[in-house]
């Protein structure tokens, strides 16, 4: 792949947004998007884990390729993601207990966020080099944060509106997700 770094970033962040166009990371998108500040924190933590996992996955892929055991890729990636989440958790706990409190349960849950596993798998199948991988991770993280923030902003306003009883909760969130996804389709062909 010879895409420019800017193209890779824009592609991951808006054109094929991880949440709204590729359906990765829907669980936090539905679960954590009820307040703007928690979703911002969640987005930043996820972006950080994405960057760490992306760098680690790049290195691991080189080693696996060297040894000719690519079939172990999936197991290695998921182990790397789980340990980098653990690492992030320890670092945050040590250096900023306030942020650790704010993120709470969301931190360990990042492990089962398929956006991160998806990211490492895509960067491998698209054969990005090291810098491209990091930019891709940054773009994906930015796109994830953007989608979460948009949804949280709408949901905060929606609390004041009257919605039918049966459409409350997840159903309403999915409908809004559909509208947002329609809006993001407008970016198709941009990059």
């Amino acid at each position: 792949m010879n895409d420019s770094l800017f193209t890779i970033f824009m592609n991951a962040a808006v054109v094929s947004n991880f949440v709204l166009a590729m359906f990765l990371g829907i669980c936090p998108f539905l679960g954590v998007s009820n307040k703007v500040d928690t979703s911002l924190n969640m987005g930043m933590a996820t972006t950080f884990v994405m960057l760490v996992s992306s760098a680690a996955a790049y290195a691991i892929n080189l080693i696996l390729g060297e040894l000719g055991i690519e079939f172990l890729r999936l197991i290695c990636y998921i182990a790397v993601i789980a340990s980098s989440v653990q690492l992030v958790e320890m670092v945050v706990k040590k250096f900023s207990p306030a942020l650790f409190q704010a993120l709470g349960i969301f931190l360990p849950l990042i492990t089962t966020n398929c956006a991160i596993l998806g990211l490492t798998l895509f960067q491998t199948s698209r054969e990005y080099n090291f810098v491209q991988s990091l930019v891709f991770a940054l773009g994906a993280g930015a796109g994830f944060t953007l989608a979460l923030l948009l949804m949280a902003g709408i949901r905060e306003k929606l609390e004041l509106a009257k919605t039918p009883d049966i459409a409350q909760g997840a159903a309403m969130t999915l409908m809004i997700g559909g509208v947002l996804s329609l809006a993001f389709m407008g970016f198709a062909g941009l990059a």
Partner: protein
């Protein structure tokens, strides 16, 4: 729900619970990513569902067999490694059976690892129950997941392409709603199903409420 140290006897409910009461997608809202992403046609939906069922049953059985040997502190890592092993098997299996299907499902076969339905079953059922009950229960959940995916895939394919399993079923003048096979369609269809289920539940509750209300009035008289 099962409590630790208590074994459940296998009954029809062990299986049926996963289909309706604890349906992974519609009731527990787990495994949403594949439910939205690969349901643009009925055949994709059903293959994804069956692949997930296979991984679910196999990994739950293995976890149930080893439940007394896996230390509690590292259980999540152990579960994930077991799940990843079976996903790798499915990944190569689908690649060998049908390359078209493999390309259509894309990265979502490998992403079965991150499907919370499987980890949820492992944590809440397989790690506490005997092998037989685990196999029946996880098979039920898997079929429930497959049916949920199929009910979305069928709606999206009929409206979006005017066909079901690739066979055209709509009248000739039907204009396909292309948006249904695109990403927004996934959100809309799942949202509609959830509204439908919420409406059904509300109606049932009102019926029960009316019935018990009538009884108490009768009792007073």
């Amino acid at each position: 729900m099962s409590k630790p140290g208590e074994y459940e006897n296998i009954s029809a409910d062990t299986f049926l619970r996963g289909l309706w009461e604890e349906n992974p997608v519609f009731v527990m809202l787990l495994g949403m990513c594949p439910a939205l992403a690969v349901t643009n046609s009925a055949i994709n939906a059903i293959s994804m569902g069956l692949a997930t069922t296979f991984v679910l049953v196999m990994s739950s059985s293995l976890i149930s067999i080893f439940r007394n040997f896996i230390p509690k502190q590292v259980r999540i890592v152990a579960y994930i490694v077991i799940i990843a092993t079976f996903v790798t098997i499915v990944d190569y299996l689908i690649q060998a059976i049908s390359l078209d299907l493999y390309n259509a499902l894309g990265a979502f076969i490998q992403l079965i690892v991150a499907n919370c339905v499987i980890l949820g079953r492992a944590e809440s059922y397989a790690s506490r129950q005997k092998l037989g009950a685990t196999v029946v229960n996880s098979f039920g959940s898997g079929i429930g997941f497959t049916l949920a995916l199929l009910s979305m895939g069928a709606v999206r394919e009929i409206l979006g392409a005017g066909a079901l399993f690739g066979v055209s079923i709509m009248p000739a003048g039907f204009e396909p709603w292309v948006v249904m096979v695109l990403p927004p369609g996934g959100f809309f269809v799942l949202g509609c199903w959830l509204i439908l289920f919420a409406w059904d539940k509300k109606r049932k509750q009102e019926k029960i409420g009316a019935a018990s209300g009538g009884c108490s009035v009768g009792g007073h008289a």
